[in-house]
């Protein structure tokens, strides 16, 4: 057989491919099939959270902040449970980042609050004296782009079967349904309802007034997103 293989390079190549592919199949596929499913407790992003995620990307937060807790004691002490691949099931794209100039934000919603983010975005060094993070004051005046977030919701629901308007199991055994509007107007009103909850915990009067008038400053959407990172 080996003499025959030496004379037929194409079939030799096919044989080599099969041997290597077999190793890949048994080592990679079973784990991949299991790990790529959404972890229980991972829900799709709501309209306002997704808007905030776009703001996070627009301001390149991922250039300085990672969203990946590695399985080391030193990291889990600081940031919480190590990341599981299924937790990124609804992240398109995932924002692992490659560098930590600032801390990891994978689970920042567990240990920071709305008003802390508000103070921090306005003047980081006021809450963390040694912080080198710049202030993001324009987030308090710029208005959020709900249309784009809604377009993404529609796209991922249609093309990837992301379960909007369907119950998703949570860790405590309950289920949660993330609403997606049937029209742009409905999406905007859903986002505004979410924004009111966030704004109630905020102190900036201009932001509160804007939300009361039906507008959503970027800071509100961004905080909604950061609070959803758990």
């Amino acid at each position: 057989m080996f003499h025959w293989l030496e004379k037929h390079p194409f079939f030799f190549a096919v044989g080599v491919f099969l041997v290597i592919a077999f190793a890949g199949l048994i080592e990679i596929l079973p784990n991949f099939a299991q790990a790529s499913r959404p972890v229980i407790g991972t829900a799709p992003y709501s309209t306002l959270e997704l808007t905030g995620r776009h703001i996070y990307i627009k301001n390149s937060c991922n250039a300085c902040h990672s969203q990946l807790v590695r399985p080391f004691k030193s990291e889990t002490d600081r940031y919480g449970h190590y990341s599981l691949s299924g937790e990124y099931a609804y992240d398109r794209p995932f924002l692992w980042g490659s560098k930590r100039t600032g801390p990891d934000l994978m689970r920042v919603g567990n240990y920071r609050t709305t008003d802390w983010h508000e103070n921090h975005m306005k003047e980081p060094s006021a809450v963390v004296p040694s912080s080198i993070m710049p202030a993001y004051r324009w987030l308090f005046t710029n208005k959020s782009d709900i249309e784009t977030a809604y377009a993404e919701q529609l796209t991922v629901a249609k093309n990837f079967g992301v379960p909007y308007n369907k119950p998703v199991s949570m860790k405590d055994g309950s289920s949660k349904t993330v609403k997606m509007g049937a029209s742009v107007a409905e999406a905007k009103s859903i986002a505004l309802e979410e924004a009111k909850v966030i704004a109630a915990d905020m102190r900036d009067q201009d932001v509160k007034d804007a939300v009361a008038n039906g507008q959503i400053p970027e800071i509100v959407a961004l905080i909604a997103y950061l609070n959803s990172l758990k």
């Binding site: 003499h3 030496e6 004379k7 048994i26 080592e27 399985p71 080391f72 004691k73 889990t76 002490d77 600081r78 919480g80 190590y82 567990n110 240990y111 920071r112 609050t113 709305t114 008003d115 802390w116 103070n119 006021a126 809450v127 963390v128 004296p129 915990d201």
Partner: protein, 308 residues
């Protein structure tokens, strides 16, 4: 002597001289450091082996004549001798195949490396070490541990001096601020400060035993002053005695499973706030459940020490 050997010896001597000079002229030189000596020994071995292996094959090329049986195949007129397998190679080949079979069927599935496994082992070792080292610490050491945990976890909201950074979080140098007392009296409280006590009712459920009426705005003011000053002074003392003592005790130091200590911080109070989080007049405090029991106790000790 063959000139090839002569060349080899000269080359080896030159390389050794070069190694010796470069090590001795480097920073520190031969200062008795074992690593330098190992490097030089390694260099000698490498140079000797290289020189003599090269010499062996060069001589073989010079003297060998082609002989033996040719294999059936030839490639554009270039043939291959039938050489029997070297024994050492054949043994290694068979061993590798055996190991491969073992790894495929037993080694990988049963015993594969996992990052998470390593993490779990690390965590276990760390926790056991922590437990052994800090199980019995008390007093100043406990306060010091609490301070270091505070600086790592709490300072971003409460500030390095635990003063709440100008009202952004609770000022932990005092047990309770007048604004917080007022907020709790008006809205009630359900923060599980003792773990599982009954929630405190809002102002409509707080009856002044003297007047048999819910407390008034003036009484709330008086209580806020009295409690925020550490239950001292005369203003509000009568209202406190008539309204609060049933749950918080006559001295304000709390009653088990009823009401928390209002006079000073203690371990139960702080530990429960760290475990459950808290929502009060300033805002929401998230829970810090990833601290272990000893760390929570240490933070309590530190915070208690601040207001003394």
């Amino acid at each position: 002597m063959n000139k090839l050997y002569l060349g080899g010896v000269i080359f080896a001597a030159f390389m050794l001289l070069f190694t010796y000079l470069s090590v001795s002229s480097s920073h520190g030189g031969f200062n008795g450091d074992i690593v330098n000596m190992l490097a030089v020994t390694g260099a000698i071995a490498l140079v000797m082996i290289s020189a003599f292996v090269v010499i062996k094959y060069v001589r073989q090329m010079q003297t060998d004549k082609a002989s033996g049986d040719l294999a059936d195949e030839n490639w554009d007129g270039i043939g291959e001798f039938k050489n029997s397998l070297p024994t050492g190679w054949a043994v290694m080949f068979l061993l590798t195949m055996t190991w491969g079979m073992w790894y495929l069927t037993v080694g990988y599935p049963v015993n594969s490396y996992s990052q998470i496994g390593e993490y779990n082992e690390d965590t276990k070792v760390h926790n056991e070490k922590f437990e052994a080292q800090y199980k019995d610490i008390t007093g100043k050491k406990l306060v010091d541990m609490g301070e270091s945990v505070f600086i790592a976890e709490c300072k971003v909201c409460h500030g390095l001096k635990a003063d709440g950074i100008g009202g952004r979080a609770a000022d932990l140098n005092h047990r309770i601020a007048a604004a917080s007392v007022k907020h709790v009296l008006q809205n009630g409280s359900n923060n599980q400060l003792l773990g599982m006590e009954m929630p405190m009712p809002d102002r409509n459920g707080l009856i002044n035993a003297t007047t048999s009426m819910p407390i008034t705005d003036a009484e709330i003011e008086a209580l806020a002053t009295y409690v925020s000053k550490g239950l001292t002074g005369t203003v509000g003392a009568d209202v406190f005695a008539a309204t609060c003592v049933m749950c918080h005790g006559a001295d304000g130091k709390g009653v088990d499973s009823m009401g928390p200590n209002l006079k000073e911080f203690n371990t139960t109070l702080v530990t429960n706030i760290l475990s459950h989080g808290k929502k009060g007049s300033i805002g929401t405090m998230p829970k810090f459940d990833r601290l272990n029991a000893k760390q929570k106790e240490a933070v309590s000790a530190y915070i208690t020490s601040l207001s003394k």
